[in-house]
Every structure is written in C-alpha cells, then in structure tokens.
Symmetry: C2
Subunit: 306 residues, 2 copies
C-alpha cells in the first residue's frame, strides 16, 4: 500500500517541469503556492469538478483523463478572454486505485502536464485525499481590467457566432466510440472528446466580440445562459450551423463538450461562423420554430424549456 506522501511524489514526478517555472515563485510542497502577478492585470479564476462516468469513462487511459480534465477546466478562462497562468488540482482516490501502484496517478499527472505545456501554464499546487474518485481543477489567469467577455452584455440585433464546428464530442459519445481508446491512435471523434482545445488562440476575435462563453453544456443550453443573462432571445439558422464531420445537427445543438466559444458582436467576426441573431423576444428559435433548450443538467437528466 502506497502512503499519501508516496502518491504525491508520483504526481509531482508526472508533472515534471510543469510543477513550477516562470511566474511560479513557489510550487508544490509547502502550505500554498506563490505566484508572481503581472502589474496592472486582474486575476481571473474558475473551478471545475470532473467525475468518473460523468465527465470521462472510468476505464479510459489515465493520460487522456488528465489531459481532458485540465483542458476543459481552462476553457472557462478562454471564454473570458484571459491569459492562462496556473492551476491547482485536488484529487480524491479510493484505496483500490491507490493500492494498485503509482503508475495510474503518475500517468494522470503526465496527461495534465501535456495539456499544461500546450497552454503554457503550471500545475503548482494540489491536494490528495482518500474518497470516491473525483478530480477538481481550479484554473487561474490574468486579464486587463474591464476586458472580460461576459454573458450579460448581449443585446438584440447583435450577431451570434461560434468559433468552430460543433458536435464531434457528442457524436463520439452517441456512437459508442469513447471506449476502447488508444491514446496514440485516436479517431477524429475520440480526439474531439479526449483532446478538446481551449480556445486561447482567438485574441483578435475576442477584441471585437462584446460577449460570450464556452460551449460546454451544448449550444442550445449555453446560448440560453447568455440570453437569460442578457435579457434577450435568439434566432438561429440551422443551415449556417457548422456541424462537425461525422456529427449530426442534434449533436451540434444539444451535445455539449465542444469547448468552442459562443460569441456575440455588432461587427463581423472574421474566421468565426455566424449562426444567428439576438432578438428582443425571449426564448430560442431555430429556423423560426421554438427550440427546446435541452442540455445537460447534473440533477434532472432532463429537458428544460427556456
């Protein structure tokens, strides 16, 4: 049986050079991490929980679980227009996982390190406790004060954009491709699910947008969030929706796990897909018909109408 401290050592080994560097003044090992702040910038912070068989298949390779956990958590910072800097990870594992060996947890950390490297961030602190498997990632970045991309700044007449094709991750789930999976030989749909890309590569687009969020719960539900926060409705054009290859319109509307950004703007956003317009009439419409705001609800498993 590995001790708590041996497991922590395996995690830090898996993180490698992603545990500290650059703006991380003090990494793992003390009561808290210390991070240098950039003069004149504000801090941006969010937290996410990832649960087995809700947010990833329990039997998936640990490397993919680690990669996906970090990337989807950081997506919330991309959706604010922030610069990502660091994260903390709190991991609960039960004895059976811990007793097996340290390979699982070290591989999980290697997957997190791979995502951290791509994002240019560090995993500078964490916590380990024994309990049902549960991965919590708090993500932190910086932004110019007054520049965050909000959900509440949409207004009727603004155009609605998405930053890429939707539905591939949902199609992966629907077609039963989540398992088995080989990290080195992912199909395109598996890649969409296990290797989502937080969109930190869109800074010029974000400068022109007036509001937005990331599409994690499905386009219809996330657009509903924006509309409620902005006090308006939306009219979508199905022909304009970029549906991912091998996905269906239903996947793109309701699937979730896309992590593309949903943006609203009064001026054209070059390189993004214009899919509709915000309306003064509340509620969502698709091709003129009411659109049921179906999406993932952790407690209802159900369907909501906006």
């Amino acid at each position: 049986m590995l001790s708590e401290f041996e497991i922590i050592d395996a995690i830090v080994a898996g993180l490698g050079d992603r545990a500290a560097g650059e703006w991380i003044t003090l990494g793992p090992g003390d009561d808290a991490a210390v991070i240098a702040a950039s003069p004149g910038l504000s801090q941006v912070a969010s937290i996410d929980t990832l649960l087995p068989d809700v947010h990833f298949p329990i039997a998936a390779p640990a490397q993919l679980i680690g990669y996906r956990s970090l990337m989807v958590s950081f997506s919330d910072l991309a959706a604010m227009g922030a610069i990502p800097r660091y994260c903390l990870v709190s991991l609960s594992m039960d004895k059976s996982q811990a007793a097996r060996d340290s390979v699982w947890v070290e591989t999980l950390a290697q997957g997190m390190a791979a995502a951290a490297k791509e994002l240019g961030v560090y995993v500078c602190g964490g916590n380990l406790s024994r309990g049902p498997l549960n991965i919590v990632v708090s993500v932190h970045g910086e932004i110019e004060p007054g520049r965050p991309l909000l959900r509440s700044t949409g207004r009727p007449g603004q155009s609605i954009y998405v930053t890429g094709p939707l539905g591939a991750a949902a199609a992966c789930v629907r077609t039963g491709q989540m398992m088995p999976v080989e990290p080195e030989a992912l199909t395109p749909l598996q890649s969409a699910y296990y290797r989502p890309q937080a969109r930190f590569d869109l800074s010029s687009l974000l400068t022109s947008a007036v509001g937005g969020l990331d599409i994690s719960d499905g386009l219809a539900q996330d657009l509903g969030h924006l509309c409620r926060a902005s006090g308006c409705g939306a009219a979508l054009d199905s022909a304009a929706l970029p549906v991912a290859s091998e996905a269906q319109l239903h996947d793109a509307l309701f699937g979730g796990d896309d992590y593309e950004l949903l943006l609203v703007s009064s001026t054209p956003l070059e390189g993004a897909y214009r899919i509709g317009i915000l309306t003064s009439e509340t509620g969502l419409r698709l091709d003129g018909e009411p659109l049921i705001e179906q999406g993932f609800d952790h407690f209802c498993d159900g369907t909501r109408t906006a």
Copy 2:
C-alpha cells in the same frame, strides 16, 4: 427534484453579501470570477478537499460543515503569512441530498458566508456536480514577494514555537463529542473542532519567524514535514507543550485539526509557546526519547517513523 440551476440559486442566496464586493470585480454567474490584484503583491493559492466522515460527520449541521470547510482551507494561507482575499468552492452532491430540498445547501452556504465574513474574504465562484458528497475549496490571498513563511527554512539551533494550546479538536473526536451537536450551544471541544480559527491575527509574530506551517495533521507529523523540508531534526520538551483544557498530551502530539501555527525562529516570539529546538540530528525526540511520527495518512491509516 431541484434542477442544478435552482441549487446554484440557493447557494448564491446563502452566500448573501459574501459572493462579491470590494476587490471582486465579477462574482458568480459567468464563466469565471474576476478579482482586482493589489499592486506589488504576489498571489498565494492552495486547495483542499473535505470529505464526509473523514473531515466532518455527515450528519453534522450544514452550517458547521460550511464554516469549518472554509476556515480550515484558509488556514494554509495564514501559515504562509498571506492576506486572505477570496475562494472558489466546488461541490459534488448526490441526488438524495439535492432532492430533499434546498435548505441543506443554502445552510451550508450560510456557514461558509459566516467564516468568509470573519476572514474578510469572498466566495466569488464555484461549481456544482452530481456525485458522492465532496467539498473542495481553493483559497487565494496576497503576500509581499519574498515574504512567505516556508517549511524549508528551518536550521539547527532555532527555537520551535506553537501559537496556541493543542489537542482540543482531537479530544472532541476521541471523547465522542462530535455528535450530537447544536450550532448555537457548542461545548468548548466542539467549538475547537467545528469552529477552528485560521490564525491571520499574528502578523507581528510572523515577521519575526523564519519558517512555519499550520498544524493540521498533528504536531508530530507537521513538525516532521518541516524537519524533512529543512534537513534537520527536532527535540521537544513535553512540559512546555501547551495542552488544551480537557485534552491529553497524546491529543496535542498526534491529534491534528488544531490549525494553530508551528513556527521556527532565532529570536524570541512574544506570545507564542516555545516547545523545543531544531537539531542537526534528524528525527524527532520528546524529552530525549525518539518520537514516533504518528499522524493522519489518507491512504495508510497507519504510523510512520520519521
């Protein structure tokens, strides 16, 4: 059955004026929170998980669970000498808790708000998912660069101090006083367990100390952490140990959950208890005899020798 969004509304209602204010530019409701940073200061960050029947009795009043969760998490920032600013909370709950009503979760949030008010901090973001009960708190503060109180800066010859009597929370557990409990009529031992105080009131002491950490796993184990990080040992004097009223020496040495600070210093620390000295010989000694570094290990439940 409450929806995810109704539960979130109940949490935000329970937080009241602790969800945003002062340096919180943007509180709950968007993809991430935005926090103004103080010019010239570094960020300090830590994360903790609290699990039912490990870190609190599942049947305890939600108000006390919320209070304790926040206070013990912020203790890590006190141990760095930081100024506490804000936290994020990720809550997993199962359907049975969610289905009951929103009272439990709103009361939990009220308990968190009470601790946040005492600390002068905000709970400006969070996450809710369905799973085994699990409370994760990431805590954030600020500090002058170069001023954190580390575990690795102890040197032989420095005196060892603790900032208050130890063992009361452990005595609460040992004597079976954790339940039943009435939030408005806590016994002294219950108060130690359910209403620990993160020691942010010691800034003058901390200026003189050269290293330290908070005592969460028990004095012996936490002193062991400091000694290993500093490459030295320690000799303790049992007669000098401040044992809390109704507690025993064993509670004070091995009990944990004290959240007093353990400090080392070359100059006297007025108002703290001097309990021993760091030694060049590694390992811990009590009154000249080897001290087994027994304490809480999430995976072994066992005893370790330093």
